[in-house]
């Protein structure tokens, strides 16, 4: 399987990465190289093997339902580009 240039542009758009035509073409080459690795892996017979959701075969640890965090808004917002009335300000977005 190999990708098309159109698919590369679509993935770039979904990831909100602005790429030029030449970057799209070089990225296509890189990604197709990765795909050949995946193809090699997919050639392995995995019948009867349960897929893993994580590379480590251990269970999720849980935390107790307790509030442990205090309000540190001032510290967090000190490094934010712009804030007002306690809100983070971002370029206007309306769906």
């Amino acid at each position: 399987m190999s990708l098309t240039l159109e698919q590369v542009r679509r993935v770039a758009h979904l990831a909100r990465i602005d790429i030029s035509e030449s970057e799209a073409e070089s990225t296509l080459g890189h990604l197709n190289g990765i795909f050949s690795l995946i193809e090699a892996m997919q050639a392995v017979d995995t019948r009867g093997i349960e897929p893993m959701a994580h590379a480590r075969d251990v269970a999720q640890r849980l935390r107790e339902d307790r509030v442990t965090e205090e309000n540190r808004r001032a510290a967090f917002q000190a490094v934010a580009p712009e804030t007002e009335a306690g809100l983070y300000l971002v370029p206007k977005v309306i769906e």
Binding site: L62, R63, D65, V67, F76, V90, P91, I94
Partner: protein
């Protein structure tokens, strides 16, 4: 409308009643000042890692057990990728291929009176996920303001099969689900605050035809809007098809001001979420003994309570369903019966379902802030049962209780002299007076006018200020006139 079939499925986001967020230790309390409950994990600062809240998992297990679903011994968290400023990580942690709750069903009762019927709505799944923050679009110098207090709040997304075929069924399901999540204490159900919101998938088809193309109405936060939005959508789809048009798959929003739905996005620009297992989270394993412990701690569920009400109190299926529509009403009813006595269980049901419900409705009040308590209502029903007062007088006493004119039915009956007159001597004396004062009516009756008899009963009841037993008045009057 006759030759179209409506198909509806519902997705509900129920905010789980935990103290802290699903993957961080920040508080979930509603109404805090912006961003004061958004910690480093919720803000997605570099290097932070999510740690799953045991309380949120416990809520999911409770829910799964309450609907008779399978609790997955192993489930997996996945990243749902999209870009929006109120989602700082660039992805929402959700569950995709392996959700925590699989299957199950909710029994609903649709309609009222003669047309009432029962139906089972099957659930596909329920999964855990985190909520996003809030964007405020009012003017901040041409910018949007972001409040991340809600980011990371635990949600249970509950998905049905396309089992409903009218807005009435959809609303009945939403109400039953709303009552259930509150019943088992996993969600406060506050719809104004967004703790319980529904998306409805609606399509129409000719009977027997394959499923039509669906449109999804997003974010309905009241039962009324749910009903209005679905009704509008059904009408619109049928009209479009009958005019020779085609339905395009789309996500739509309901505008309560116009009562219409409008397209938010079509399939072409639908999100491609690129789900994949979140490498920051290991699989969630739920051992059998955790499920068993949770099962043991569950309260009596609506279906079991309904069966018990029918067996113990001799209630009809309809009454029992109505009285188990929420834990509040079930508790109120049982507290009423506890005071009135089990023998008066049926009149208690009527008073709670009819008189009290109508009065609450008239004042637009909820049962929780009823001015008449269950103990007061039980005391009132007890006085009807032992013939101290008639049903008619009871309505007066109820109104007096409602208006706070006394602490108990007994006190009001005593203070206002409403005790039923059962002493036949006293009633006979009153009847004699009435007969003497209404000689013309007596003559009419004797001349064969049956109607005059009823008028005389009315006069006698008036003379007793309604306190005499009407049946007794009737009999005594007959005796006197024969």
């Amino acid at each position: 409308m006759n030759h179209w079939e409506v198909v509806i499925g519902i997705e509900t986001h129920a905010q789980l009643a935990t103290r802290s967020k699903i993957f961080s230790g920040a508080s979930t309390a509603f109404g805090a000042a912006p961003n004061t409950q958004a910690c480093a994990v919720d803000l997605a600062l570099p290097g932070v890692l999510p740690v799953l809240n045991r309380g949120a998992v416990e809520c999911a297990i409770r829910f799964g057990l309450a609907i008779g679903a399978e609790i997955a011994p192993k489930s997996v968290f996945a990243r749902k990728n999209y870009f929006y400023p109120d989602l700082p990580k660039g992805y929402q942690i959700s569950q995709f291929e392996l959700p925590v709750v699989v299957g199950g069903s909710v029994a609903i009762q649709v309609g009222q009176g003669e047309q009432v019927y029962e139906k089972t709505v099957h659930l596909t799944r329920a999964h855990l996920e985190e909520d996003a923050g809030k964007s405020l679009h009012e003017d901040f110098h041409g910018k949007s303001g972001i409040d991340l207090n809600r980011a990371g709040t635990p949600l249970l997304e509950i998905v049905t099969e396309p089992d409903m075929s009218s807005s009435a069924e959809a609303v009945a399901y939403a109400r039953a689900l709303h009552a259930l999540v509150r019943w088992i204490g996993i969600c406060d159900g506050n719809m104004q605050e967004g703790s319980f919101r529904c998306d409805a998938n609606v399509s129409v088809r000719r009977p027997g035809a394959p499923l039509g193309t669906r449109r999804e109405i997003k974010n309905l936060n009241s039962f009324r809007f749910l009903q209005q939005a679905i009704d509008y959508e059904i009408r619109w789809q049928i009209e479009t098809l009958e005019d020779g048009g085609r339905i395009q798959q789309a996500t739509v929003l309901f505008d309560p001001d116009t009562g219409e739905t409008r397209v938010m996005r079509t399939k072409e620009d639908a999100h491609d979420y690129r789900y994949f297992p979140d490498p920051d989270l290991l699989p969630l394993l739920i051992p059998r003994d955790w499920v068993e412990r949770t099962q043991a701690a569950l309260p009596e569920l609506p279906a079991a309570k309904k069966r018990r009400f029918m067996a113990d109190y001799g209630l009809s299926a309809y009454d029992a369903t109505t009285l188990t529509a929420s834990l509040e009403i079930a508790d109120f009813y049982e507290a009423t019966v506890a005071v009135a006595g089990k023998a008066a269980a049926k009149p208690c049901a009527n008073w709670v379902m009819v008189d009290l419900a109508a009065r609450l409705n008239r004042d637009e009040r909820e049962l929780a802030d009823s001015p008449v308590s269950a103990a007061q209502l039980g005391g009132l029903v007890a006085r009807i049962a032992d013939n101290t007062i008639s049903n008619n007088i009871a309505k007066k006493v109820f109104e007096a209780l409602w208006n706070g004119e006394g602490a108990s039915a007994d006190e009001i009956i005593e203070k206002q002299g409403l005790k039923q007159i059962t002493d036949s001597g006293a009633i006979e004396q009153l009847i004699d007076e009435v007969l003497a004062a209404n000689a013309a009516m007596v003559a009419e009756f004797k001349a064969g006018k049956e109607k005059a008899f009823n008028a005389l009963v009315g006069q006698a009841m008036k003379a007793t200020k309604g306190k005499a037993n009407p049946q007794q008045v009737n009999e005594l009057l007959k005796k006197k006139l024969s």
